[in-house]
């Protein structure tokens, strides 16, 4: 079973992402772990490993970019696929996210299918490695 960590400060958004990822009768179901802040993500990361991390950008205290940077620099999680979801689909943020090592950038609003396909693609890629 693949494990995905979703970092997002809006509960409704987390529920949406969870539904998007778990709503699938796949041979390889996804288990979603929710973090409501960057700090919670930091706390949950050691409980991993996670096969993919999906994070929002605009969060109080530790923002998503800082989280991406942290994960990419960390010994244990630097290989973990990272997907940024954010309404700030401005070029600036997108570039920053990618430059910091995020694998994909998905602009809100998105269709559940889009996120599901994206996560699947990263999971498959990882499995092939």
């Amino acid at each position: 079973m693949a494990r995905v960590l979703v970092v997002e400060d809006s509960a409704a958004m987390r529920a949406f992402v969870r539904a998007a990822l778990e709503d699938e009768s796949s041979h390889d179901p996804i288990e979603v772990t929710e973090a409501s802040s960057g700090f919670e993500a930091l706390r949950l990361l050691p409980r991993g490993p996670y096969d993919c991390v999906v994070t929002d950008v605009n969060m109080p205290d530790i923002n998503g970019l800082e989280l991406v940077n942290f994960i990419r620099k960390s010994e244990h999680h630097k290989q973990t696929p990272l997907i940024i979801i954010s309404t700030q689909a401005s070029e600036r943020d997108k570039q920053r996210g990618i430059a910091l090592g995020a694998d994909s950038y998905l602009a809100k609003p998105f269709e559940p299918e889009d996120l599901r396909m994206l996560v699947r693609a990263h999971l498959d890629k990882r499995a092939r490695r």
């Binding site: 509960a11 409704a12 205290d61 530790i62 800082e66 960390s74 309404t87 430059a99």
Partner: protein, 741 residues
Amino acid sequence: MVDQRDEFISEAQEIIEGLARDLLALDASVKRKEGADHELINDTFRAVHTLKGLSSLFGVARMSTLSHHLEDLLDEMRLGRVELTPKVLDVLFRAVDVYGQILAALRAGEPEPARSVDELLAELDSSVSRPQGGSANPLAEYDLDPGLLAVLTEYEEHRLRTNLQQGVGLFVIRVRFDLATIDGALDNLKSRAKPHGEILTYLPSGEGGDAESIDLDVLLASRQSLDVLRTELAGPNVQIEAVARRMQHRAVSEPPVTTFGGEAPRITTPPAAPEDTSLFAPRTQSGKEGFSGTTPRQAVSAVMMEEEPPPLVDVPRPGLSIRGVAQTVRVDIRKLDHLMNIVAELAIVRSALSRITDRVRGAPELRELGIELHRLHRGLDRHLGDLQSGILEVRMVPLGQVFDKLARVVRQISREHDKEVNLVITGAETEVDKLIVEELSDPLMHMIRNAIDHGIESRRQRDDRGKPETGTIALNAYQKGNHVVLEVQDDGAGIDEDKVLATAIRRGLVTESETAAMLQRDVLGFIFMPGFTTKDGVDELSGRGVGMDVVKTNISKLGGVIDVHSELGIGTKMTVTLPITLAIISALVVVIAGRRYALPLASVLEALVFDPATVRTIEQREVMTLRGATLALCRLDAFFGLPRPASANSSIRRFVVVVGVGNHRLGCVVDQLIGQQDIVIKPLGKSLDGVRGFAGATELGDQHVGLVIDAPAIVEEILAAGDASRLLGARRPTGATGGEA
């Protein structure tokens, strides 16, 4: 998907309430001519930002469009490109209202209110003004290290630049946190750092030595000296360093390590980051790709510590893991109603158990079993009581929720009316049943509109009367036993009793001779009559076809009562007394034809001994005279079709319970008064939905299950609606049902 949508609506509601609170705080700071609090502005930005994301995901198009525009505006505002003026605030307050309308429409399953959104959007553009005189961000020369900037959001970057521009010093606090306790420890650090400056961001770095702790670099802008900060924020795992500006090193082509300010001590590189460089390293060498090599984590740690980090003091506790993360749960209030219902069912089971216990104890051969059963019963009784109060507690929310809304209304109305009004709130923390809070906001809003419109005088009048130009409306809430008292008090003109009486006489509500004996309470009671106004013209504010009678009806529906006191020239005080919860009500327990019934106390006015000699029959209906007024009577046993027990004797003393609903009064004849009791009403169930006259069933004392009488339904049935809008009693009851044959 339904659950998700509910989740969306309730989260949006919370965000909008928070937004309204922030706007009020901003309004206050603008009024005090202080600069607007940038943290508050950022909070408002985050609110609409989240709303935008949510509403677009859930396909709520207008809300998404509105949020999008507001987000743009607030984004520019937090980046200092747009000024926060009272005009902009007005629009933002309007936006809160429009959000409320959209949510209301969503809840009702209706389309979003397109027009109000469009109007607001049109107004958004016209209200924006940008600061004059050059760019608000002339800080390009600061040229911060791109590695640091790479992880900052645009807003964080703006705050950093703003602070540097104002000459505020920059410090890095490196803290090691135990992951299990990071939330509390971080809040502690935040609250200690806040008085000294602004926390710009938190950069997590490395992973500490183990999986149980983490190092954080906290970027703090502060006007304090390094020494002061080191003293104030000292802790076992805390190191603080000052960060120098790159400006000072621009000309220096030395290795980019000497980055401290005046005191520039020797730098020891922390072991975790061997290839450290300066936070503000020149980017000449690497150009565009520079920051891929210079990460913020390395950059910041370069200027961190003079000594090695002291050893961890907190012992990692692997057991303390992710639990305790989510400390609140949203619950549909219907689920709580359901639980309360089960408690009521259990109370009925308890009654049956109690009866059996008594029987067993009465049998000598079962004595021991009886004692044991009795003990079990007592335990059940206690736990059931705890369960009931526990559920009730969950339903409680602070009145502050509705008060915030009122503060906005006061602001808006006083502006429309050109009256300065100061709203003073006490007791916002007083807790009331969630359902009551929701139903309260409209009546309270109306009372406050009234107070501003009819109560508070114009500036000139106030000046003439020697009152301060700014009027005061006090909104007080406090708990009194099982009730909550709400007062709306103004220091305005007061209600002119003579004027009220004159209007009442003119409208035929009372005769001149009757007025002589009336108390102030009775006179002021006229303002709760439908359509009653002493004003000649219909006023835009209060005269929207809704009068104090509607307020009174709404309050009564919640089981509350409203009272008014007024002194001419001094002010008016409206007092609303409400039950704390709708789930438990106070009732008068009566006996009718040998059975017990509960009459909700909210509709009971008084009880008196029934004197058959005073009964007259008018138009085939029994009436009696009570203090000079005619009171229609209803013999409840006959009304319910109950057979009189054979032992019934007309000489036995009976009672009249006077119930009042709106302006109508009815005397209910009952056999016995048992007393007052708090009861939990349980609905009768679907199959008995059509039965009128009963609000439900309840457990009455130890052994009785009784029906709860629906007084309003009976009054309505006995007295035809629209009849006799006399305050002091219905003169011509016309109902044909009930009564004794």
